[in-house]
């Protein structure tokens, strides 16, 4: 039994066991990656497989024309239990403007939306925006303070850091006559580790450790705290959601939240 929290979590789920454990919780909204419209997941769901009430769907593929036509077909036939959508493609935003719907519309333009002006501009068209993870803690606070509507904060989970349309693992297998699985592990010369996931629509790379932004849970003007459960066990997910502490000993990776990124090489030399 999960302890009730004041926080509203938007939990991106990829396995069915955790769905059962989380679906009864009042402070949790489940976000389902949709088959054929997502990249970077080990599992996804067809719309008719999503039975939970108040479910949100996740569409993070960048869609070609065929893809956007398929999306238009899908959105016209959405069942009433689907209450919201989180998406990356601007074509989806345009489509949701044109087709009548009551969905809560949340733009997750990955690696964009790093400033309050962009976010407020998009908020003229949609209900909320997932703030980029490529910013510092101070930048995040300013954005939340200046945003015209409550926003979604990426609070915990593996962050997609590269999305290619190429099938990089299939290409590797074909080139070397290998059979590496479509979820694999990479290590570079600096001994930094990554996870790489491919499906027919492209390849996504993640750092091998989850981003920990649990400290954001006390911030205001937040519509949802987004938890991405990809690669996490059910026990870990439950622990993270229930935890009162920020679990930094176990999950120390805070990405860019503590230090601003470098724009020019000469800045490093200062």
């Amino acid at each position: 039994m999960l302890k009730k929290m004041k926080n509203n979590y938007l939990v991106l789920v990829t396995n069915k066991t955790i769905i059962k454990k989380l679906s009864k919780e009042k402070n949790i909204t489940l976000l389902f990656p949709v088959a054929d419209f997502t990249v970077g997941f080990d599992n996804s769901f067809f719309i008719n497989e999503i039975k939970e009430e108040n479910a949100y769907i996740y569409v993070n593929r960048l869609l070609d024309n065929h893809g956007i036509e398929k999306f238009i077909e899908m959105i016209k036939l959405l069942p009433p239990n689907i209450k919201g959508i989180v998406f990356d493609d601007i074509g989806v935003l345009q489509t949701l403007k044109e087709i009548p719907n009551n969905l809560t519309k949340i733009l997750y333009l990955s690696h964009f939306n790093c400033n309050y002006l962009s976010i407020n501009t998009y908020l003229d068209y949609i209900d909320s925006v997932v703030i980029s993870t490529d910013i510092t803690d101070d930048e995040l606070k300013t954005i939340l303070k200046k945003a015209n509507k409550p926003l979604v904060v990426y609070t915990f989970g593996y962050i997609p850091i590269m999305y290619s349309r190429r099938q990089l693992l299939t290409n590797y297998n074909n080139h070397f006559k290998k059979e590496v699985p479509l979820i694999s592990n990479l290590v570079n010369d600096l001994k930094q580790e990554f996870k790489i996931v491919e499906n027919p629509y492209g390849t996504v790379i993640y750092p091998a450790k989850p981003f920990n932004g649990l400290k954001y849970r006390n911030y205001e003007n937040v519509l949802y705290y987004l938890i991405n459960t990809l690669f996490l066990s059910d026990d870990e997910i439950i622990k993270i959601i229930n935890s009162k502490s920020n679990l930094l000993d176990e999950y120390p990776y805070e990405y860019l939240s503590l230090k601003e990124s470098i724009i020019r090489i000469k800045e490093r030399e200062k």
Binding site: R166, F176, V187, N188, D189, I262
Partner: protein, 395 residues
Amino acid sequence: MIELLAPAGNLERLKFAFIYGADAVYIGGYEYSLRANAINFSKDELKEAVNFAHNLDKKVYVTVNIVFHNNDLTNLKQYLEELASIHVDAVIVSDIAVIEIVKENNIPLEIHISTQASTLNYQAALFYKNLGAKRIVLAREASKEDIKIIKEKTNLDLECFIQGAMCTSFSGKCVLSNVVTNRDSNRGGCAQICRWVFNINNEDKVFSMTPKDLNMAIYLKDMIDIGVNSFKVEGRMRSIYYIATVIHEYHSLFSKIKSNTLKESDILYSNDIINRCANRESIPQFFAKLPTDKEQYYLGREEISNQDFLGLVLENKDGLLLIEQRNYFKKGDIVEFFGPNMETFEYKIEEIYDEFMQIIEVARHPQMRVYLKCNQAITKNAIMRLKVFDKRNYL
């Protein structure tokens, strides 16, 4: 309209791009541009660039295409107003904040949507059109069918890359550089981590994701037919030699398409010239099919710098060419000259004269000035290069 669009990392490269046949160039100022480590243009240089272009009835587009953070917004309005005041022909943007500032303040700037926005479908293009965008630089991942449909459904100006380096990722969707080096890829600091090699699952073969360069020479006619307006060459960090060579070859191919005289041999020859100049293999990528391992580099890639750029023609006085040396050449070398408004031709170096008209055997030193005698029509700013490919062998 067919526009050949060249990159320019500084004023000299911009001038060479125009002289060698570009109809427009794209450049970056000191701020807000994704090639933060290029030389780029000061405000005075931006003004000079625009004046130079407009005097030739050509265009200058300025990249304002970083992903903005809060602090980056501080002087953005002023910068955009300055760009408008010097009459740049458009700004290339990816962040909606720039569009918002232009609209809110009625700044008279034409908006082009950067390839960083990864536009692949007509609905996305319509969104930007409704915001006032005049042109979309499509994602490099766009197929022929995608381009055709976007054109039909939006009638926007479409700009597509035809030559140059590819990101492995959708542009704008990669922060490998941020994670590995803390250099911000979406604010011009990309460290090109996708060109590193990786160990995968402890396999004996290394994992690579590096794409070969893009080259669309064989599809130029198809691109024209489906409505592409602007044909873009990548490479704001590239040298004048690269820009002159690539723009010269593509300008030649477009001229032959216009006169309906293009032959396969022309394309094969141009491709060899371009690939040697780039020191990389270049091929089509997403236009006709999804790229396979054949469109990537794995181990075995060779990138050997060559010294083909031998000299630059500073003046031609009645058949006496003043040459600024760029790489070693000597008496007896077989070279060729190419340049604006002239036919490329082969030349054997019979005599070299120093600045005092004394005969020398070798031009050894970069930037040294020497004279060659030649009675063919050679224009100022023509380039002397090592002759490697003979066009007669392609016929």
